[in-house]
């Protein structure tokens, strides 16, 4: 009995060091941030000296037009980039899922953008968007068109950061979709061809539905990431002009460093965190539902034998 007990505890014993490190590295900062969000805290104060203000930071933010604007910009940005990236990424995967010569080199080329550090991506695009010497405007001029105010006009600036993000992250969707596509049952596709499906009908009726579980997880992963975007926009526009590209992470960093409101910045982070937690749970719930369904199907099949 004693031994059985000890045996049952053994795995936890081995897990303990990792659990402690997790607790310190993860829970401590989060706890710290949650506590800080209830304070009116100036960086020159030590945390003990800050005044406890309860939910004032949270309530204040809900009435803060600038915060709401940047919350809206974030959601708009995430929705737009993820939509475009999903369409392009899945589209490219469907297009390039064939065994012709040179395809593997092409695929490697396609995923390069993802491997470049975001700061570098930002700098690269900033040069390309440069109003007079950037490649885009130079090309436009040489073709006789008017230059475009890529980063100096609010709407264009939003479009510019979207383009840069799409350039960097479409490959992510692309490789996951391609992997999903290549693991589909080949014979089901052949059966569809025999059943008379055109290439387009195979995509709509067979490939996309079968890829759906992977696509949904990919979408949620990408969405979570898009809400946290910072570096590229920081380098490209630093949130401007006006608030047109000021996404939440940028606003948080400015609130902390420029406005010196640590408590408020912490409260903003928590709003973002809540949003991300909801998305993450949505993903887990989806996975769970899929697993439960598979288990149920398997059980039904076994009973029927």
């Amino acid at each position: 009995m004693q031994i059985a007990n000890a045996n049952r505890l053994t795995p936890y014993l081995f897990l303990a060091p990792a659990a402690v490190i997790m607790a310190v590295a993860l829970l401590y900062p989060i706890g710290y941030m949650i506590y800080a969000s209830f304070l009116d805290w100036n960086p020159s104060q030590r945390i003990g000296e800050a005044e406890f203000v309860g939910l004032r930071n949270y309530i204040g933010l809900l009435n803060d037009a600038a915060f709401l604007e940047s919350f809206w910009v974030t959601i708009k940005f995430a929705a737009v980039v993820v939509t475009i990236e999903m369409v392009l990424g899945v589209g490219l995967a469907l297009l390039l899922d064939r065994n012709i010569r040179g395809m593997s080199a092409l695929r490697t080329l396609f995923i390069l953008p993802m491997m470049i550090a975001p700061i570098v991506v930002g700098l690269m695009w900033r040069y390309m968007y440069h109003p007079s010497v950037g490649i885009f405007n130079k090309t436009l001029k040489s073709l006789g068109f008017d230059p475009i105010p890529w980063l100096s006009d609010g709407n264009w600036a939003f479009a510019s950061v979207v383009i840069a993000d799409v350039w960097q992250w479409t490959p992510f969707i692309f490789i996951l979709s391609l992997a999903a596509l290549q693991s589909l049952p080949q014979s089901a596709m052949e059966a569809a061809r025999i059943d008379g499906a055109t290439g387009w009908q195979q995509i709509v009726y067979i490939k996309l539905p079968l890829m759906m579980p992977v696509l949904i997880v990919t979408l949620l992963l990408r969405l979570i990431d898009a809400f946290k975007v910072l570096e590229v926009i920081l380098v490209l526009t630093n949130g401007g002009p006006g608030l047109s590209t000021e996404i939440l992470s940028l606003r948080i960093s400015r609130t902390a460093s420029e406005f010196r409101e640590l408590g408020e910045a912490a409260a903003m982070s928590n709003y973002l965190l809540i949003l991300l937690v909801i998305l993450t749970f949505a993903m887990f719930a989806y996975n769970k539902a899929v697993e439960a369904r598979t288990a149920r199907l398997r059980k039904a099949a076994e009973e029927d034998l």
Binding site: P185, S187, A188, E190, A191, A192, R193, I194, D195, G196, A197, T198, Q201, Y205, I206, P209, L210, M212, T294, L297, R298, A300, A301, D304, L305
Partner: protein
């Protein structure tokens, strides 16, 4: 229901030629079985017919119309795959009606057809389920049903029964045989199982190593095999092959080996007149032996093992170094370890050329 003709069709994957150029004609409304050991190119042949593989050279004709460049959907055929290839995300009704829905057949007609075929195959109660919720045998029926709801001119089957257990396989085989007699369509059926081939085929095409060895009715293949491969492949238990030589003694032709001497029947003897003293292979079916020594020519065999199969037993016997299978009635048991004399029905002897394997 076209007449299908392969004209010098060949298939290579890269530099590997898996099917050298061959001709093959499948008559209208015939049930043709392609049979041969695994890897001999049966599936490749069928898939070229279906349009799932390109032909490397040659042309396939449906009633004189070349079709090798056409898409599968333009060839008017339905196919049952070895792994069933059901659409995992569609329920059974949707699986079965997919082709009809693509062809924009009216809804009422689709429902009517699906229900008729489903009840014929005993899967009407499963229409709302997903493929994952079915057992292997049920999936097999659905795959069959999906092909049958279509009014295709040609039906292709690629080892549709090989994933089933023996009992279910027997049952499905019987149902297929019934279907063959009621449905007046071209059917091309691929299998490695000679029993399936013999029971189902109007005509059987025996393949080996990418080559067509022989084609004909089951009876022709059993009684008149052209070479040792076909003779050994068709029939169970398999034919016994013994080394021997032809000799003439006392006015009759004999075939003689280490432990036997059998007189040749008149027709073979006349055919072999021109080839005296020649090394040959003798083929004896296990069913050509009888314990009644008053019949046929006597042969002495040492019984090693007796395999009881029910009404019949198969005796594993030795004749010198060679192993010989003998089929007997279990009602008259033979003791293992004894030496017995059997009668050989000499009418059923087959003589093959030893080097080429061709029947003489």
């Amino acid at each position: 229901m076209p007449k299908i003709a392969f004209d010098q069709v060949s298939k290579s994957y890269g530099v590997v030629e898996v099917l050298p150029p061959f001709d093959l004609t499948l008559e209208d409304s015939e049930f043709t079985v392609l049979v041969g050991p695994s890897g001999c190119g049966k599936s490749t042949t069928l898939r070229m017919l279906a349009g799932l593989e390109t032909v490397t050279s040659g042309e396939i004709f449906f009633d004189d119309k070349p079709i090798s460049k056409l898409d599968p959907k333009e060839r008017d055929l339905a196919m049952v795959f070895q792994d069933y290839a059901l659409y995992p995300h569609m329920n059974i009704a949707k699986n079965m009606s997919f082709a009809l829905r693509l062809a924009r057949v009216p809804k009422a007609e689709i429902t009517e057809k699906v229900e008729r075929v489903a009840s014929m195959l005993n899967i009407a109660h499963l229409l709302d389920r997903k493929p994952a919720e079915l057992s292997g045998g049920q999936r097999q029926r659905v795959a069959m049903g999906r092909a049958l709801v279509r009014d295709a001119g040609t039906f292709l089957f690629d080892e549709p029964l090989s994933n089933l257990d023996a009992k279910l396989r027997g049952k499905m085989r019987a149902e297929l045989a019934e279907m063959r007699d009621t449905i007046d369509k071209n059917m091309v059926y691929v299998t490695h199982d000679q029993v399936e081939a013999m029971t189902l085929g109007d005509r059987i095409v025996v393949m080996s190593d990418g080559l067509i060895q022989q084609q004909g009715t089951p009876e022709q293949l059993f009684k008149e095999p052209v070479n040792t491969f076909v003779a050994g492949f068709i029939g169970a238990p398999t034919m016994n092959f013994l080394d021997g030589e032809l000799v003439e003694e006392g006015g009759t032709q004999w075939v003689r080996g280490d432990c036997y001497a059998l007189p040749l029947p008149a027709d073979i003897a006349t055919r072999l007149q021109s080839a005296p003293d020649r090394a040959v292979t003798v083929g004896l079916r296990p069913s050509s032996f009888t314990p009644d020594t008053t019949q046929g020519a006597p042969i002495e065999l040492k019984v090693v093992v007796s395999e009881y199969l029910g009404a019949q037993s198969v005796l594993v016997t030795h004749c010198g170094d060679a192993e010989i299978l003998v089929e007997t009635q279990s009602a008259s048991p033979v003791r293992s370890g004894t030496v017995q004399t059997f009668g050989v029905l000499t009418d059923e002897i087959m003589i093959f050329d030893k080097t080429s394997g061709l029947r003489l």
